[in-house]
Symmetry: D2
Subunit: 355 residues, 4 copies
């Protein structure tokens, strides 16, 4: 039985990725598109400025784009709502939908830090989904809200998971080089980035630092408890790359003197333990791909590994400052870091019988 | 009295910057151009692929480009030789010139780690020039070799100096985003960097890590001693920016709980103490410019501050991992990080009466 | 006696260029800045997103930005108004100012085709300024409106002028590669142009085709008459270049079998005849610079020739299709093609005693 | 029965495309890789600097790369040789192979203009293949050489074919914006093209002008006769796009006053008449795709239409200068303009029983 899904913010960049990933999805059927902008009343094909290099599917192109509207979603018998709404308006819309019984999987950043809102990077903390019980009790919702982490956080924490499990991680320095697609379809004027980089992304460093400790946290009686043994410091930068966030990671491990080859092996053999064996359609066979060439990963060459759901790690080497390890990790920010992660969460919920 | 100078590797990118900086220099006169390549026999204008946006000076354009040749340099009565030769051939040429009495200021990386070869970032360690006495005694040279540090090292150590002096620095993590001009005129094919970044630059991380501890080292009886109290870990990356290396720095300070405003002040008030008051022509009035905007420094906007000799620092903020400080520093890699630094060293030598 | 000037649309990209060119101008003093946007009430420094690589002059940075407001301009005793307003709002504002006695030099495209509105590329048709008499009579204005041509038109027609004068020009095909700065400060999202080009610029081809025939037109009793002997066909494209429009021109000449060297000479010797000898401060010494290298002009290397006021022509060669000539011309779109042209027009008006 | 093929110049950019297109090809099997460079003795995986975003097939990666060597090709029982050799060495190698009985399909430009060497853009002039009889007789070869046209020529002439057939074409102006991949893997240093364009590509304009008249020529008794009724004038430019040549075309038609909708229809309905119905594996279903949006085609979005074998045409509109038509055409330069065209020619030869 196909689940009927709605996409909010369907004409934006993450919305476009949702359409690309959900079209012909074996479990989901795109039934409703809504947008907060001026698109209402037009078809999707007329209103979207499509920038993905595979064409818009013809059926989707002909769907109407509705204005934001919970009523219509309820009436249409939607099972799951994917929200790629702007932060300013997301919260009200998402809460109303949850109140009215809908499962909302949201890419918007507000509410990510609330303890009863699960923030899920499936291979890392799929079990945090259990907090939904607390959420429903506390808020009296028949639906629920699940948040997708920030793009850089998703890519970074996925790469860190096997180190965390096998060697312990205490402190991590993270320096990102983020693609322009992370700023959305029209968020970054070309005059600002051409022959340039911007060493600042509003709110990003805080997101990486705080979301990471929530993702590596544990379930308490009141919600998710942050992991206080993990310290993350981030510096985030925008560079002239279309797609794919590249992150330099410097980590202090609890297990001192871990051999580099053991770290490589831990990453390569990582099966995404929290969802291992679930065979979700969007689940990458290898969540982490390790490249041994000296100069990889590179965004243009490696960003779509595992259909954009794998992260690619390279240059795993000894770090002097922490007597630890440093490495480079790359992932697709709009797939692994946004829409793909949302779809994977939806599949997890279906498999767990929560939808 | 003008000093007569020669430029080796004159047609390369650093060579072009040397010409731009030395033309109409108040103390120096360009007398000889030499090249290791196929340019010999042609004029400079015929052989160079000039990529700087100010035109080649007409007189320089008409100078002959000689093949590498110590004889001619001696015969021409040259006072200072600026070497921007490729690493593979630099050492032999430079040693012969030093042996024959010439002062060689070299941008080539070999020999930078030899204890009796001064590695000078003038504002940081101009006093290391005293090691030349040891060098001459040990090697029996009437001339001398002085090395210009690696581009990233130069920019990074200049920004670190006031922190080092006022707060003490123990450990530093450095993550660079380096311009394509750092790879030389033809070193980086466009197919490799377009819509991409390359998270590896051969030998760069070792250079940053080891040259920094030499620059912050001290003069011993046998040469420069590395500073063993300073630990640096670097990750170096090439990005699609024409000129200007941007570096994210995370530093652990000895003085805990230093206030951010004190750090800002230390940087702003830094006068380049080792050459303070020398009034060298290429010396920037403010070696470090601090920007308070959230999103600066940016390479396209800030790279030529202080005629390319200042570094620009921004986003000075608290760092969680070290309970220290993190910031961004930007500098012109071909000026502050290469030719400009070389010219500044030459001026220092003149002022000290060493030329 | 300094003339007091106002800049409308001061925070946009052309507005920024106006400030760069008018600051410390020998004849003009920036007295009022106005903006149609949200800047009102702030200082210029607070409200502008400055993207030019020379810093904002400190005095200008502290000027207030007023909302659009003719009253204030009149009260301040402004002599000349430079308008870089968006097309949608320019016409009403500019007409009101002209009615109230102000000389308005406008970069906005509306009204460019009205016969009594001079469209001036000074070296080409400075004499069209005489149409102001008709304008004033017809419209009852004590002030006046003068229009700056479209950026591509300005660069193209300047290069065509010596061919037109010396050889006659019948038909011209124009294919442009236009810089992103032509779309304004925030007009072109980076996601649209990265690793891409856009073969369409709204209204641009019509502007090039029609404005050119007006610029090469003549003064009739009712206004400017288009030149009906000149036919222009344009194809306009946006490419990933920061600044500098490059145009491929294919021209059919009346004088058949003109020697290439004669055409080169005509361009090189062109003195900007319509303003020759006027010694206007912004007037380039050589309006057209001819490069003989096979691969020039190039935007990054040549765009600021003559302080951005010269155009650079190269690759002058025989054209098979017209048995005519083809060449490449490059110019700074925001200087020669916009603000610089506006300032040059203002200087012309002052010299002619019209201000 | 699979044909065994060799690829010469296998590590270059066109060589990489050949591998991508020939791997798992239904008719061809990659048996031998040769290179003129330093790769000899290594495996393909070790020697290639792979820049295509699909991974190297593992089997291919393990193949040895041989030095250029006709003997080995003969011994290995190769049926078809694809040559992507550098111009300087291609001719001798290709002639020797043809002499020794091999069918050589060559992307190298030398010999393209020789009358007995077919220059094939299959949908346009597949019938020119008949000149091979003359070639063999004249040269005494048991093998043969067939040339792939220049990349820009291939894309341009394919788009022109339906106009030529249905409306007659007399004169055409062509202005190209060519991708950096057209310069080969390492041909264009990033320092030359960053924030820039280069309005010159050596030999390119002559190739477009002369190859086009050969492709639209006819078979005479001595070889292919150029079409003297067609005049082409080209201006060729390199822009900062990874892949995909975009061409502005201005055409004078014999049939005056052709309606734009008729021209659109002719292009859309074009079936590639010279190979219509042959069902070759690499043959695109629609050789020409017409887009109706105002701002298409765009390289990043449209370059891989028809698996890179279709060209995409847009902005078909009236042209003033010729009272004709102008339009934009885009195609993948390394597929449609190089390797893909070569494979399509090979398939044609197989279907015709010539291999």
């Amino acid at each position: 039985m196909m689940k009927r899904v709605a996409i909010l913010g369907a004409t934006g960049l993450v919305g476009q990725r949702f359409i690309q990933l959900l079209y012909k999805h074996p479990w989901f059927e795109i039934a409703v598109l809504q947008s907060s902008g001026k698109s209402a009343g037009k078809t999707y094909g007329e209103s979207v400025k499509w920038v993905i290099d595979t064409d818009i599917p013809v059926e989707i192109s002909q769907l109407p784009v509705e204005p934001l509207n919970a009523e219509s979603i309820v009436k249409e018998g939607i099972d799951i709502v994917f929200s790629a709404l702007p932060s300013e308006i997301a919260t009200d819309v998402e809460k109303e939908l949850a109140r009215r019984g809908l499962i909302v999987i949201s890419n918007a950043s507000p509410m990510r830090m609330e303890p009863d809102i699960p923030l899920i990077n499936p291979e890392v903390n799929a079990d945090h989904i259990e907090v939904l019980e607390i959420q429903r009790k506390k808020r009296g919702w028949s639906g629920a809200i699940v948040k997708v982490p920030n793009c850089t956080t998703s890519i970074f924490t996925l790469s860190l998971k096997p180190l965390y499990d096998d060697f312990g991680v205490k402190r991590v320095v993270v320096s990102s080089m983020q693609a322009i697609s992370g700023a959305g379809l029209t968020g970054l004027p070309s005059m600002f980035i051409m022959d340039n980089l911007i060493p600042y992304i509003e709110g990003e460093e805080e997101k990486v630092e705080e979301e990471s400790t929530k993702i590596f946290g544990s379930l308490g009686s009141d919600g998710i408890l942050h992991n206080n043994n993990l310290l993350v410091s981030a510096s985030c930068h925008r560079v002239m790359v279309l797609e794919g966030h590249t992150i330099a990671v410097f980590a202090e491990l609890e297990k001192k003197n871990a051999a580099i080859e053991d770290i490589v092996r831990a990453m390569e053999e990582f099966k995404g333990n929290k969802i291992k064996g679930l065979n979700l359609p969007t689940q990458p066979e290898k969540p982490i791909i390790v490249r041994r060439e000296l100069d990889r990963p590179q965004p243009r060459l490696d960003r779509y590994e595992g259909r954009g759901m794998s992260v690619v790690v390279g240059r795993i080497r000894h770090d002097k400052v922490f007597n630890g390890v440093k490495y480079i990790v790359l992932g697709s920010n709009t797939i692994r870091g946004a829409a793909g992660n949302g779809v994977l969460i939806a599949e997890l919920l279906v498999r767990k019988g929560l939808v």
